[in-house]
Amino acid sequence: MTDKSKICLLIILIVSFAVFLLGHGLTADNYQYFLSKRTPKILAMILASIAIALSSFAFQTITHNRILTPSIMGFDALYLLIQVSIVFITGSLSVVALNPYINFSISAFIMVSFSTLLFHFYFGSGRRNIIVLLLVGVVLSQLLFNIANMLVMMLDPNEYAVVQANMFASFGTVSKQLVYLCIPIILLAAIALFKHANVLDVLWLENDNATSLGVDVPIVTKRALLLSALLIAVSTALVGPVLFLGLLVTNLTREWFTTYQHKTLFIGCSLISMLALLSGQVIVEHVFALQTTLSVVINFIGGLYFLRMLLKNQIV
């Protein structure tokens, strides 16, 4: 099967899952209500898929590894901490906590700036052992997560209920306004990453060869990291943390597609990611009858896959 036919197959599967999620149980009487509920949910999944796929893939290319993703490096935990801090500092009924635009702008701003700082710390000073980075990432996410938990302990129970909704990936409670706000942001960031696709291809050859071939490695790395940070901030703000999704889809893409070109890989990875979320949602709704959440399913499968990678030592 060529890469093109793989992409076509993925699109067919995605459309059928999306149509099923949108269309099951619709009648002439209820369709307006259901569609107005379901459309933003599906849109949010598609947007989050693109954002997670592109950011994870670009991140792995510039860091020359296939095991680290922004989520594993502590991004999701950071988002949680921001959400908890907002409620903790301003209260659950404040404008900051309730207005999706303000909350989103603040979260995205803090995440992008903090992640830039983090990246400098991780990758600023030369080459580091990937295992050490992985450990640092895990420890850091645990630290951020625990600080968030500590704040939660100190919160009023009513306020906590507000935070709790944001602590797990949820596609059911997506805010409609936020979805439409995210479309242009994700679109612009995605276009910017696609423009770097050819240069990112050269980075497969590692930094020295890329420099010899005329790629300004520090600048490209910085831009790609910034775009990754923005995308992951947007997707986390939109649907909450999905820890292992990025790792799962980037590696499935590498295994399944034969090309080295980021143009195709970006598209393939986004599609695989959409398929994972949409099919996962179908399973959650129709097999588990909403007894579990999508992030549990994704993290279960992704976690197993992560373990398999570690055991097979496929980490470089």
Partner: protein
């Protein structure tokens, strides 16, 4: 011409390049020899902007290295280090195509394809051109990387131990091609090399380094002499003349 002036570089307090002044001309093969840790690769990396220097200047065609846009410089100067990891599966031909990146930014033109084909034929890679690199031997991989550098078609070609992993047949093939590149196509080829006899028979000039300093730089006749080599390698040397070439015997 590449001119290196008063280069200094320290690693963790140890001087790995100290006060280096050398020049590399077009149309000549220059070999850099010396014991392990002499600073050969450091010099090569500094000259090719892969490594920052502490002080001194490098001039490529009269312009200081820092003033070159890295994109433009990539059309003049190519460098290949000794270890080359790949994070992706490539066929030989795909890898060689990357050599054209400075010229076409990833969109291959007909000229690019001709140059790539030429590099493949030059190094006899037709049979393996569509094979994946991870299925090839270390030597074949090395040849593919050298072909990539050739496809880059630059005036200056810097190679760090190009004979690494290569058997005698392929080493000879590479050295002959290096000489052709310099003499027929008027490029400056600089190689870091451990095999002194290859250096002696195939280079025009030799730079011998020891402890981060240039011990001697000159023509093959000037450098490949027993007393010079003995002081550089701390080993007894015998240099004999065979078919008009200086050949070293050291075992």
């Amino acid at each position: 011409m590449i001119k290196v002036e008063n280069i200094n570089k320290q690693y963790a307090g140890k001087l790995v390049a100290s006060n280096i002044n050398v020049a590399f001309e077009k149309g000549k093969v220059t070999s850099i020899i010396g014991p392990n840790g002499a600073g050969k690769s450091t010099l090569l990396s500094i000259m090719s902007r892969l490594l920052d220097k502490d002080s001194g200047s490098v001039y490529v065609d009269g312009t200081e290295l820092e003033k070159w846009a890295t994109k433009t410089l990539a059309k003049r100067l190519a460098v290949l280090k000794q270890t080359n990891n790949l994070n992706m599966r490539f066929t030989v031909k795909e890898l060689i195509s990357f050599g054209r990146f400075p010229h076409s930014q990833g969109k291959l033109t007909d000229t690019d394809r001709q140059v790539i084909q030429h590099a493949i034929e030059y190094l006899d890679l037709q049979v393996i051109q569509d094979k994946y690199l991870d299925n090839l031997s270390g030597g074949q991989k090395q040849l593919a990387f050298i072909a990539m550098v050739m496809a880059q078609d630059t005036d200056y070609v810097l190679l760090d131990e190009p004979l690494n992993n290569l058997d005698i047949k392929h080493s000879l093939q590479i050295m002959k091609n290096i000489r052709r590149l310099a003499h027929d196509m008027n490029k400056a080829v600089v190689i870091v090399i451990h095999d002194i006899n290859f250096a002696s028979c195939y280079s025009d000039n030799i730079i011998a380094m020891k402890n981060g300093e240039v011990a001697i730089a000159g023509s093959v006749q000037e450098v490949i002499r027993a007393p010079v080599l003995e002081s550089i390698y701390d080993t007894p040397f015998k240099v004999v003349t065979l078919d008009n070439q200086n050949v070293c015997v050291y075992y």
